[in-house]
């Protein structure tokens, strides 16, 4: 946060949310600067996925403000749809449109939301599929691809909207170990190119190597928000030390 060029792109202030009696987000303050890669880690049930989904209002929050590029998140409707188009999202379970081919998955929102022409959308989709290494799979259906391939298509689909930021909600958690790297490779590439990213993940290697900041969450609160090297070598809180000792053992 000390860099002079820091301009906030995503800002959360005093955000609260309950699931029934569970206080899943408690007074969350978080600022993500343009071009920053923020990795959110923490034990299951800590609220990290909810935090990620709150940023584009897939989960509405009860109080607090969420601002994207200076604009507060609008209510459900046209304004929110416009804003969501600016913030791409990649899901744990890929969520590719099952009835559309790979190419159509990447062109659909370009045609419907960005109102691009078919040839323009196709060209962009093929470029992006090339970039994630799947140009040869364009005419297949999602069910015919491996999990790693599906997730890379999902990233291409999000990128096709030219988003200002990308949200990743545990993008590798549903993948076989051998496929995790092909997805992380794409993400590392995006991080290097300066894409603003919020990544909820258990991949500590990715956090160490690619994150500008690591946010540690537990029980609905942000307990630490620091540079990865500082966090991993000397966590401030007992909770984080405990968490790291458990996951870094193997």
């Amino acid at each position: 946060m000390s860099t002079a060029a820091f301009t906030p792109l995503i800002e959360l202030a005093g955000v609260n949310k309950h699931y029934g009696r569970l206080h899943v987000l408690q007074d969350i303050d978080l600022t993500v600067g343009r071009g920053e890669v923020v990795v959110v880690i923490g034990p299951s049930g800590s609220g990290k996925s909810t935090l990620c989904r709150a940023i584009n209002r897939l989960e509405p929050v009860e109080s607090g403000t969420i601002t994207i590029d200076g604009v507060p998140l609008p209510e459900e409707g046209k304004g929110l749809a416009r804003l969501r188009a600016e913030v791409g999202m990649v899901f744990q379970s890929f969520n590719l449109f099952a009835h559309k081919t790979v190419l159509q998955n990447v062109t659909l929102a370009q045609l419907k939301v960005r109102k691009r022409t078919k040839s323009e959308a196709d060209r962009k989709a093929r470029d992006l599929l090339e970039r994630v290494g799947l140009a040869s799979q364009a005419d297949k259906y999602p069910a015919q691809l491996s999990g790693g391939q599906q997730q890379r298509v999902a990233i291409a689909r999000a990128l096709a909207m030219d988003p200002k930021a990308l949200l990743f909600d545990e993008p590798t958690s549903a993948l076989d170990p051998e496929m995790i790297n092909e997805v992380l490779d794409v993400m590392r590439g995006l991080a290097r190119e300066g894409m603003t990213m919020v990544v909820v993940t258990h991949e500590m290697g990715f956090a160490r190597a690619s994150a500008n900041r690591v946010v540690f969450m537990a029980d609905g609160r942000i307990l630490e928000d620091r540079k990865p090297e500082e966090f991993f070598s000397a966590p401030n809180t007992e909770r984080a030390r405990d968490f790291l000792s458990k996951i870094l053992k193997h």
């Binding site: 584009n56 749809a81 969501r84 689909r157």
Partner: protein, 214 residues
Amino acid sequence: MKVLTDNLSTYWHGFLGTLELTVISGVLALLLGVLMAGFRVSPVRPLRAFGTGWVTVLRNTPLTLLFFVVVLGLPRFEIVLPFFTFAVLALGCYTSAFVCEALRSGINTVPAGQGEAARSLGMSFGQTLGVVVMPQAYRSVVAPIGSVMIALAKNSAIAGSFSVTELLGTYRTLNELGYSIIWTFVWIAVGYLVITLAISALFNLLERRVAASR
């Protein structure tokens, strides 16, 4: 056989009447059913309430009662239409409630993540429903909607009691002419079978087509 050959034109007009009632009411029921299903899953509370009310009232009212409401009720509001139109309204609205519920159960079979992905890309509610969710719900609603349409064909018989020419009503004429009641009804049943089996065949075809398209 004689009852059929002697009265071919009576049967034919009745058959056409039932066919017309079924096709036109069916189209109306599909259109209204899609609209109401959209209402019932929409994020707008008043629309949801309207859809729920529509289904609750129409699905739980006896069709004959609904015919009375339309035929006797609408003229009180100075809405006077041919009996055929009244019958189409009653049948179409009634059936739309069942179409709506079949569609809604189909929508619920589509994983929530599909809609979330569409919304996260900036698609509107209408686009999400129309381009992503409904096409995937479609394959699981073809069979139940086929059943609803067959029920509609048979329900159209009620229109005969409200001065609309249709197949079942032909028995009155034929009965007066002194034909065997059993054979009269056998040929009426055959007429219904032609229509309902045709609907079955159509929906079987649709089912095979959507199954092949993936």
